[in-house]
């Protein structure tokens, strides 16, 4: 994405804010706009812009400072107004998202919100007195999944688990995979169903996906993952289901149901290593049941989307059993997962 396009994405994101807040932001230098990935608004604190490892503080004249002193401070009313305007005066349309801590915005951007939880019978039903907003600027990175397409999907359609630490680019890779697979890059158009519980993949805004997910992709936006997977299997006959951040019990059962229908799963999970991810019982269960043939490990947040390792689950099993050759790791510093693998179908 070129500098101008990146700066335009910044402008598009801040345009959702009230006029008196957005104007200083729109006046920021283009180079800063292009490299910014977050704008943070906090009660009684100055606006800050995060660019890579650097945080800048903004004053009313669109000047950036290293230190927050003498910068413009936002009031609680500024933050409340920002929330209402980001919802386009339609709080009700975003209420479900807000209970999950974010607001989806036009252009695929999203605002994380932080405030006081409103609870009903122990369940969060709303958020009041918002104290901070983290406006994350979405930038599609086209081609970030090229390695996976070339190494895996040009040869076969298989289940894939993408692991990495937060901000390592898992969602970005998943989005690009959907776009390429459903865009016929492998020589055929794969029917993809994207279960987009948090709206990060398709970023559907008022019924229109803001991100290109390919020509043969169906997006189930806002569906809880488990229900979305079941709905996709029942009604959309997908070849592949994509979903972000798996790990809860409900979705594991749904994924296993989907597997029985011959659907391949591509999903992501948080974890700094494959061993760490496999220590989570739900993920391990999915791997044992054959949901994933490959596991990918990404680099850290400084190089989003960088693939460090592509592991074959079969080789992991052999390795764990001590019967097979060492798996071909790009990262040779780990070779012990301590996981007992059960062959697919044998877990029952």
């Amino acid at each position: 994405m070129d500098v101008q396009t990146s700066a335009n994405r910044f402008d598009q994101a801040v345009y959702t804010l009230p006029k008196h807040i957005r104007e200083p932001l729109l006046g920021v230098a283009g180079s800063v706009k292009a490299s910014a990935f977050e704008v943070r608004l906090r009660v009684d604190k100055p606006i800050s812009i995060t660019c890579g490892g650097q945080t800048w503080f903004l004053d009313r004249d669109a000047q950036l400072h290293n230190l927050p002193r003498h910068c413009w401070v936002l009031s609680p009313q500024d933050i409340s107004q920002a929330v209402v305007e980001m919802c386009a005066y339609s709080i009700h349309s975003h209420q479900q998202e807000m209970t999950s801590g974010y607001i989806s915005l036009r252009g695929g951007h999203r605002a994380g919100i932080c405030g006081t939880a409103v609870l009903e019978r122990g369940r969060i039903t709303g958020v009041r007195d918002v104290t901070s907003i983290n406006l994350r600027i979405a930038r599609e990175i086209r081609g970030v999944a090229n390695v996976l397409i070339d190494e895996i999907y040009r040869k076969e359609l298989c289940g894939l688990l993408i692991t990495g630490v937060p901000s390592s680019g898992k969602t970005t890779i998943l989005r690009d995979l959907a776009r390429q697979l459903a865009g016929g890059v492998t020589g055929r158009y794969i029917r993809i169903a994207v279960v987009d519980e948090r709206g990060e993949l398709g970023a559907v805004y008022q019924g229109v996906p803001q991100n290109d997910l390919g020509d043969t992709c169906d997006i189930l936006s806002g569906y809880p993952k488990g229900e979305g997977i079941l709905s996709a299997v029942r009604t959309l006959s997908p070849q592949v289901i994509l979903c972000d951040e798996i790990g809860a019990g409900a979705e594991v059962e749904s994924i296993l149901d989907g597997l029985n229908c011959g659907v391949k799963i591509i999903a992501t999970a948080h974890g700094s290593s494959i061993a760490e991810v496999l220590r989570r019982p739900q993920i391990r269960r999915l791997v044992e049941q054959g949901a994933f043939e490959k596991i990918v490990r990404l680099g850290d947040a400084e190089e989003p989307g960088k693939i460090l390792e592509i592991a074959n689950v079969g080789e992991l099993e052999d390795e764990a059993a001590g019967t097979g050759p060492a798996r071909p790791l790009l990262d040779p510093d780990r070779n012990e997962h301590g996981i007992e693998f059960v062959k697919a179908g044998a877990a029952d």
């Binding site: 005066y89 339609s90 709080i91």
Partner: protein
Amino acid sequence: MASNLSRRVRRIENSISLLGMLYDRLRYLQPPMLGLIAALAGLEQFAGTVYLQRCRGAMSEGQPFPAAWRQGVEADRDAVGAGHAQVLLPLGEVLGSVDLESQLTALRHAVSMLESELEQAREHREKYGRLYRSMGVLCGLAVAIVFI
């Protein structure tokens, strides 16, 4: 004058119907306000609802809902009447700006206030409508007698 009384009744009925639709759509579809107002303004039964049409116009020009609604109701205040406008105006500060349950509560409250207004308007029409019509007939007769 009698027709004015009937028009007032029809306007209140129309507003009650509009708020009922707003309530149902908000409750079951939770659409964005711009789309919701545009959809309702596009219905034939609300083609003559001036404040709604004005509100849609202002929103499509980029005004936020609270300002657009206030502008619409203020522009139509003389036609709808002060009491009717007083019920409608506060909705602009609530719809879209607070949680769904509070919006629905505000709509229910507004509908119940308008129902009281409607009852009064109907009583007024019954009480004075006949009187105004009779007076009209008598005036006509008086004019005819004068000419004869």
